[in-house]
C-alpha cells in the first residue's frame, strides 16, 4: 500500500485544498488593501490563542480561531483609519505575543505544541479538523461572495464608493473577520509564521499575470492549491517540513511570474 492510501495523507490533502482555495480567494484583497501586516499580526495573536487553549486543555485550533477572530474585532474597533490601523495591529500583536510567552512558561510540555503551531500541523489533522476547516472555509467563501462588489469598490476607489453609499466601516470590519478566519485556516497548514506564503504570494504572482480581476482570483487560487498540494506531496515523500515546500513552491511561482509574466516591468516598458 502506498503512502497516499493512509487516511492522514488524504485528510491533509483535503484540508490543504480547502485552505488553499480560501487563501487564494482572500489573497488579492489582502494585497490590494495593503494588509500584509494585518495578516501577520492576526496570525501571531492566533499563536497566543492556541497556546492559551492548550494550557486549559482545549484543542489548539479552536484557540487559534477564537484569538484571530477576537484580534480582528479589536483591530477593527481601534483602527478605523489606515494610519491608525498599523498602530492598532502592532499594539495588539505585541500584547498577544507577551501573553504567549506567559503561557509558554506556565506549560512545561509546551515546546512541541509551540513548534507545530508556529510551523504547521497539516500532517497531523484529524477527520474532525477536516470537517471544521471545510465549515470555516465555506463560511469565508459565502461571506466573500456577499461583500464581493462593495469590497472591491471600497478597496480600489474609496472616495467614489463612499459617495455611492458603500458602508465603508462595515465593509472593513467584515473583511477583517473574513481575514481572521482565512488566517486561522492557513495557520493550520503552514503555521502562524508562514501564513503570508499562502495569503500574499499567490495573489502577488497572479496579479503579474493578468489585469482581469476575476482571473487574478482564479490564478491566485490555482497557485495556492498547487503550492499546498505540492508541499504536502514533497513532505510525505521526504519527511521534511511541509511548510518549507509550500513556501518554496510559492516563491518559485512568484519569481517566475515576476520575471516572465506579461505584466513584468520589462514587458511593460517594451509595450509603452
Amino acid at each position: 500500500m502506498s503512502l497516499w492510501h493512509y487516511a492522514f495523507v488524504q485528510q491533509a490533502l483535503v484540508a490543504g485544498a480547502v485552505t488553499a482555495i480560501v487563501a487564494g480567494f482572500v489573497g488579492p484583497f489582502v494585497t490590494a488593501r495593503n494588509m500584509g501586516f494585518a495578516v501577520h499580526g492576526l496570525a501571531e495573536v492566533g499563536f497566543t490563542g492556541a497556546a492559551g487553549a492548550v494550557l486549559v486543555g482545549l484543542p489548539a485550533e479552536l484557540g487559534l480561531l477564537a484569538a484571530c477572530f477576537a484580534a480582528a474585532l479589536a483591530i477593527g474597533v481601534l483602527g478605523v483609519r489606515l494610519r491608525e490601523r498599523d498602530i492598532a495591529i502592532g499594539t495588539i500583536l505585541a500584547f498577544g505575543l507577551g501573553l504567549g510567552v506567559l503561557f509558554l512558561s506556565l506549560y512545561t510540555r509546551y515546546a512541541t505544541e509551540a513548534f507545530s503551531i508556529l510551523f504547521g500541523t497539516i500532517m497531523a489533522v484529524s477527520r474532525d479538523d477536516v470537517v471544521r476547516s471545510a465549515v470555516v472555509g465555506a463560511v469565508v467563501l459565502v461571506a466573500l461572495a456577499v461583500v464581493y462588489r462593495p469590497l472591491r469598490f471600497a478597496t480600489v476607489d474609496p472616495e467614489a464608493a463612499e459617495a455611492r453609499g458603500v458602508p465603508m466601516r462595515l465593509i472593513s470590519a467584515v473583511f477583517l473577520l473574513i481575514l481572521a478566519l482565512a488566517v486561522a485556516e492557513a495557520a493550520q497548514v503552514v503555521g502562524v509564521l508562514l501564513v503570508l506564503t499562502l495569503l500574499i504570494t499567490p495573489a502577488g504572482a497572479a496579479q503579474r499575470l493578468t489585469p482581469h480581476p476575476g482571473l487574478v482570483i482564479l490564478y491566485s487560487i490555482v497557485i495556492a492549491v498547487v503550492a499546498t498540494g505540492g508541499g504536502i506531496a514533497c513532505g510525505v515523500v521526504t519527511s521534511l517540513p511541509v511548510s518549507f515546500f509550500v513556501a518554496s513552491i510559492s516563491l518559485a511561482v512568484y519569481l517566475t511570474a515576476r520575471l516572465i509574466g506579461p505584466r513584468a516591468p520589462a514587458a511593460r516598458r517594451a509595450a509603452a
Binding site: 456577499v146 464581493y148 469598490f153 480600489v156 476607489d157 467614489a160 455611492r164 458603500v166
Partner: protein, 273 residues
C-alpha cells in the same frame, strides 16, 4: 434651464465648521436643475467639503441643504461624483472597464450574475467618452488624462441628473483640460444635467459655466462669470486689492489666489507670455 421641479441643490444659510474652525458661513444658494456651477476659491476654503455636504457625507453645522427637494443621503443614484484624482497603483489588478462598472453596481451586495447588461452600458459610455481604446488596460498604467476620463465615465454610467466634479482638470495638459470640459459640457446640455464643478482654474470653463460660486473663508459670492470675475467683486470678497485682467477671452487675477493648487500667475503664464 428647466423650471417647475425642485432645484437640484438648495443651501439656506448653510454654515460649516470643521474641527471647531469655521470653513464657510451663511451660504444661501439655489442651483437650478440643468445649471452649470463652477466653485472656485483658495485652498482650504471647503470646496470639497461643499461637495461632501451635497453627497450627504458631511453634515452642516448650521442651516439646511436640500438635494432634489430632499435631505441629502449617501448613495443617491441621481448623483454622479468625480472625486479628486488619486493615482492608482500600477500593479492594481483593475481594468478601466472595471472602474467604470463600479458606477453601475459597485455598491450592490453580492457578485454580478449577469455581466451582459453591465458590459453593454459600460461599453456605451466608454464609446461616448472615446475611452474604449484603453478600457482593458490596467488603470494604474494609464495617463492622468485617461484615468480622469474613466472616472468621469464611472460617474456618468448611471445616467445621473446631478454631476459633482472635484478638480477634474488637475494635472492635465491644456488639450486634455479642453476635452474633459467638452465632455462634461455636452452632458450638461444634452441631458439637462446639473453640474457642480470645483476648479482651481476658471479659464477652461468660461464657455461652459452659467454661474460661479466663489468661496473665500469669511465671505462668499455667487453670480455670472461677468459679475464675479471683476476687480470690484474679488476685492470685496477677498478683502484685498485684487485686479482682474482680461486678455483674448482669458482671465488673469492679480493680487489673490483664485484657486487651490497652483499659484494663479503660473497657471496663466500663457496669457502673460
Amino acid at each position: 434651464m428647466i423650471t417647475g421641479g425642485p432645484p437640484a441643490v438648495r443651501l439656506e444659510r448653510a454654515s460649516l465648521r470643521l474641527g471647531g474652525r469655521p470653513i464657510w458661513t451663511d451660504v444661501s444658494l439655489t442651483v437650478a436643475a440643468g445649471e452649470f456651477l463652477a466653485v472656485i476659491g483658495p485652498n482650504g476654503v471647503g470646496k470639497t467639503s461643499l461637495l461632501r455636504v451635497v453627497l450627504g457625507l458631511q453634515s452642516l453645522s448650521a442651516g439646511t441643504v436640500q438635494v432634489g427637494g430632499r435631505a441629502p443621503r449617501p448613495g443617491n443614484a441621481a448623483i454622479g461624483y468625480v472625486p479628486q484624482q488619486r493615482a492608482f497603483d500600477p500593479d492594481l489588478p483593475i481594468r478601466g472597464r472595471d472602474l467604470v462598472g463600479f458606477g453601475l453596481n459597485g455598491h450592490r451586495w453580492g457578485v454580478t450574475v449577469r455581466p451582459e447588461g453591465v458590459r453593454k452600458r459600460v461599453d456605451g459610455i466608454l464609446r461616448r467618452l472615446d475611452a474604449a481604446r484603453y478600457a482593458d488596460a490596467p488603470v494604474g498604467q494609464l495617463s492622468g488624462g485617461e484615468q480622469q476620463r474613466l472616472r468621469i465615465a464611472q460617474a456618468l454610467v448611471g445616467d445621473p441628473t446631478i454631476l459633482l466634479c472635484d478638480e477634474p482638470l488637475l494635472s492635465l495638459d491644456l488639450h486634455f483640460q479642453q476635452v474633459i470640459v467638452q465632455v462634461i459640457a455636452d452632458w450638461n446640455r444634452s441631458r439637462g444635467a446639473t453640474v457642480i464643478f470645483v476648479t482651481h482654474d476658471i479659464n477652461p470653463l468660461l464657455s461652459a459655466v452659467d454661474r460661479i460660486l466663489l468661496l473665500a473663508g469669511a465671505r462668499w459670492a455667487a453670480g455670472s462669470p461677468d459679475e464675479i470675475l471683476t476687480s470690484e467683486t474679488l476685492s470685496r470678497v477677498y478683502g484685498l486689492p485684487v485686479e482682474v485682467l482680461r486678455h483674448r477671452g482669458r482671465v488673469l487675477v492679480v493680487g489673490a489666489e483664485l484657486g487651490g493648487h497652483e499659484p494663479v500667475l503660473a497657471a496663466h503664464e500663457d496669457v502673460i507670455g
